[in-house]
């Protein structure tokens, strides 16, 4: 039975291969059908095998590496954590595949698109299910490549291709640190199996554990677009919207959080590392929220919002609640994928317009889309009783329950960010409903674009039931299933207090936004501080100034000076040396007979002398 676990990642891979080799001869409907069916089948298999997760099933296909003490089997581990993530990935992917089939139905190159899309799901599932860090790394780089290729999907525009390259390089920079952690872990433990590493973690020297955890954090930050590696995600919006929804909202960007959850037994041994993870999470959450507040491009609002929400998940890992992190990861996947797909439909209706101040009148044009947008936005804003409310409150409660100055202040920062989140979520709704002369659209949204959103809309609203706290009469189902006790139990008073504060914050945000955006407004005047926020705190230019530009300049400088010496001057010197020696030796063959006669004479005398010498002695 456990062998069937391999079906989960291999079905999407088969889909990708079929499309790659036979896609050219298929009609479009069949091609999209294969893509959707392979992912949906994978979701079905995940559900079918769900009971296996309870007893941590494993399945091995073959040995990948075997050298010296290194053993790397192609082994899957179907733990409760992996099962949750796998179901979310396959389920959301299947819906987004359906959406994409409709969204891209005019594109001439859907074969490449769906090949990469299926390949992405495969790689993501490898991350989710791998037990070995090296196998996980295979998926990790695989999703990186798919993300690269899909961001630059419309490759004729060099700007898009550059955005893809940036995404790959920034995440690769972080992967270097992840890779070093991997080498070090093998050096210390002699294995790369996550389970074995977690078991041995307690016996490792504490200082190494701290540095290891920080290296892993860096790797996670790269994939999850956390500070200081966040700058690639806003640019990644160059890709088609289904790509943004799947890769840059629901699945790939949460891979970093998932990695930290998998290695939590190791990481949790170092309080310093946990504190740093919390700090990175909170500051990124705040950073993303401030940037999202002023963006004009609808997809960039959502991109910065993703950065910010993933920051909350990091905060949860830092605070020690895996359940909280996974809960928010799941609800975020629902509402953010929903929001992205609504945004895609809105852009589609407005024939490609992405500027929020030129869109509007959504309720009139497509009421269905408006309600879906509202569902996603209230969940994002954390309006009480929606999924986002429960998941975010669980994280903040864990922070406050620690009752130390550090975690309380991080919790307060999280609350402030929650207020900002409500502000930008509601701003999005108000701007899209504003009654302004919008770019003329064409007709209602196609049905294929809307119906995949319905399940997500429902989940965004009631997803909180997954892990309803006991205060609210729930059973904390997710927490029990994952069975990763955080050792913290927030008091009921704390939970009620937090819920009340959240309610106040959301209400305050609503009033503020209503006053500001009730009447259709033009964009804010170009104030320097707004510019600063729109440009993402100008991190891009900083990186360009400090790293990229010097790297290129120094490289060209090397090419001109040192390399010229190696390839030109030095060989030329060697050549000249040979030539000069030859010139010196030329005197012996001067061409005049008298010289040769003299040389011959000396030669004969020498030979005779040698002969004489031999005869005498």
């Amino acid at each position: 039975m456990t062998e069937f676990l391999f079906l989960i990642p291999l079905l999407p891979l088969c889909g990708a291969l079929i499309i790659l080799f036979a896609g050219g001869r298929m009609p479009r409907r069949l091609l999209t059908g294969v893509a959707i069916a392979s992912v949906a089948a994978s979701a079905a298999v995940t559900l079918w095998l769900w009971p296996l997760a309870a007893d941590q099933s494993r399945a091995t296909l073959f040995t990948w590496f075997d050298a010296g003490s290194l053993q790397v089997p192609m082994e899957l581990l179907f733990s409760p954590l992996a099962a949750c993530m796998a179901l979310m990935v396959t389920g959301v992917s299947a819906l987004i595949h359906v959406y994409a089939a409709c969204y891209l139905h005019h594109d001439p190159d859907i074969r490449r698109f769906f090949m990469l899309f299926n390949l992405f799901v495969f790689a993501m599932l490898v991350i989710v299910l791998a037990d070995n860090l090296l196998l996980l790394f295979l998926g990790w780089e695989g999703v990186g490549f798919c993300s690269y290729a899909l961001i630059g999907f419309w490759y004729r525009n060099p700007v898009f291709a550059t955005a893809g390259r940036k995404a790959f390089l920034v995440t690769r920079a972080a992967d270097v640190l992840f890779g070093i952690a991997l080498l070090w872990l093998f050096h210390l433990t002699g294995t790369l199996s996550i389970t074995a590493i977690n078991l041995q973690a307690a016996s490792l020297p504490p200082a190494s554990v701290t540095i290891l955890a920080l290296l892993l954090l860096a790797g996670a930050c790269g994939k999850s677009a956390q500070l200081p590696f966040s700058s690639w995600l806003p640019d990644a919006m160059a890709g088609p919207t289904p790509v943004s929804a799947l890769i840059h909202a629901a699945t790939m960007v949460t891979a970093g959080v998932y990695l930290l959850c998998r290695l939590f037994p190791l990481i949790s041994l170092s309080p310093t590392a946990l504190a740093v993870i919390g700090l990175v999470g909170t500051s990124t959450a705040f950073y993303g929220a401030t940037c999202a507040l002023v963006q004009r491009d609808i997809k960039k609002v959502l991109a910065y919002s993703t950065i910010s929400q993933v920051g909350y998940m990091f905060l949860a890992v830092g605070a020690g609640t895996i359940t909280g992190a996974m809960f928010h990861l799941l609800t975020h996947a629902f509402f953010k994928a929903l929001l992205f797909m609504v945004a895609g439909a809105v852009i589609h209706l407005a024939s490609g317009e992405q500027d929020l101040f030129r869109l509007g009148r959504l309720p009139k044009r497509s009421p269905m889309l408006f309600w879906l947008l509202l569902a996603g936005s209230v969940a994002l804003a954390g309006v009480p009783l929606t999924s986002g409310f429960f998941s975010k409150d669980a994280i903040l409660a864990a922070c406050f329950a620690r009752q130390t100055l550090w975690w309380t202040s991080l919790g307060v920062a999280g609350l402030i960010t929650a207020f900002l989140t409500a502000l930008y979520a509601l701003r999005l709704v108000y701007l899209l409903t504003a009654d302004r002369e919008a770019a003329s659209g064409h007709g209602p949204a196609p049905r294929g674009l809307v119906w995949p959103l319905l399940p997500l809309g429902a989940l965004a609203l009631v997803g909180g039931l997954l892990n309803l706290p006991e205060v609210w009469g729930g059973h904390a189902g997710l927490g029990r299933w994952l069975a990763t006790p955080s050792g913290l139990s927030p008091s009921h008073g704390l939970e009620w207090g937090l819920a009340f504060v959240t309610l106040l914050l959301v209400a305050g945000a609503w009033f503020a936004i209503r006053n500001r955006y009730r009447v259709p407004t033009s964009p804010v005047s170009e104030r320097p501080c707004v510019d600063f926020l729109i440009a993402g705190w100008k991190f891009d230019s900083l990186i360009r100034f400090a790293i990229t530009a010097p790297f290129e300049r120094l490289g060209s400088e090397l090419e001109r000076s040192l390399e010229r010496g190696f390839t030109t001057s030095w060989p030329a010197g060697l050549g000249r040396l040979c030539q000069a020696t030859g010139q010196k030796l030329r005197v012996f063959t001067s061409g005049s007979v008298s010289h040769y006669l003299v040389a011959m004479g000396w030669g004969i005398i020498l030979l005779l002398a040698m002969l004489l010498f031999l005869l005498i002695f």
Partner: protein, 491 residues
Amino acid sequence: MNGLTNIPALSVLLILPIIGALACMVWGRRASVITVLLETTVALLLPFRVETTVFPWLRFEDWGWIERYGARLSLGLDGLSLLLVWLTVILLAVAVGLSWPRYRQSGFYALLLISCSGILGVFLAQDLLLFYVCWEIMLLPLILCIALWGGAKRVEAAFKLLLFTLAGSLLMLLAFLGLFLLHGRQTGDYSFALQALGTTVIPADLAPWLFGCLALAFLVKVPVVPLHGWLPDAYQEAPAAVTLLLSGVLAKAGIFGLVRVAMPLFPETWTSFLPVLGGVALVSIGYGGWLAFVQTDLKRLVAYVSVAHLGFIALGVAAFNVIALQGAMLQLFNHGITTAALFALVALVERRTGNRQLHELGGLWSRTPQLGALVLFFSLAALGLPGLNIFTGEILILLGAFGAHPWWGAAGMLGVLLAACYTLRMVQGVLWGSPRGPEFMKDITRTEALILGPLAGLVLWFGLYPLPFLKLLRGPVEQLLAYLVTTGGLP
């Protein structure tokens, strides 16, 4: 079938290309195809039906040669040389196939074949004089090819290559003769046999010099960074087939020589040499990668990529433990396949667009998607994407290097980032953007697919299931380590 076992397959392997070259001169270039096919058959049959005669070898053949100086034609094949023989034969086939539509003179093919014979000799020779002779045979025909069929600056490039490598190989000959005399004086047995010379007691003040001569000769051929002056021009000016052999196989001969000749002859000096090699390797990785990033000529770019990748192999050798060595030896094959494919693709792109400058290329994907997909695929392999062959070697090398010296592994990891920088720049310059160049271009032809398809298959095979080959290499690698321990090189 029993008769097959008695055929001296290794000698056949060596002599066949020479006969083929003569046949080329008589019957024209068609003979080269037949030779390649025969050679491939022999090479593929090598591991089968073997009766081991001498211990570590899969096959061992020994013929008298110059009895007076104790030089014999002794050839030995083990897992490592088997892999390299396969690589040589594969790349020879690629080189011939790639040159077919471009070069009509049979002399070109004859020279390639002769060079191939020399390369195989280097990988198989167990006698130092034979090794030296093969070492010269493998290079001189290729230099001739560059000088006769190369690009605009071909004579200059050929001279540079000749100067560098000739200087190196003369030093090597000097070291061999020195050893020969020392050994003869000590034991009275004048012999060039590698195994016998390994037991020579070398005076402590002489050893570093002799070893230095050898190491220099091998490192020039690899080449590592301060000695790479010949490489960019030679790679750039040479015909595609020659570039492919130079980077794909001849570079491997340098590493092979270090491990299989320099190490056994000077085990004690070897251990003190390893840190130097590690440093040079790291410099190669960084410097090669950095320069690859700023190149504008596509072929020159791939040349520097090759320098960086060879730096990784040298790093694995320098770490000298089981994992790193297995990785490095496997990487010899992997790098040969990938770099050969990249150089072949550069040639194909150039034939279609008539251009190699990155800023004048672009948008190839929309004109020739299949060719574009192949460029992307092999670039990803060069970038070190897991699941493709370069990653297999690199991760083993890095794991091993980290075990030897943690900061070597960490610094090597940075090279992986550099690899992404230059590869993606290349991919973007060639594939993406709006289409440029001629309006109509043929997508990949059947012959070209026949050349590159198997290479792509090998890239995947070595990336996903390298186990059989790792097993093949385990024996030779363990012997190397055991040898160093027993001869007192390692504590």
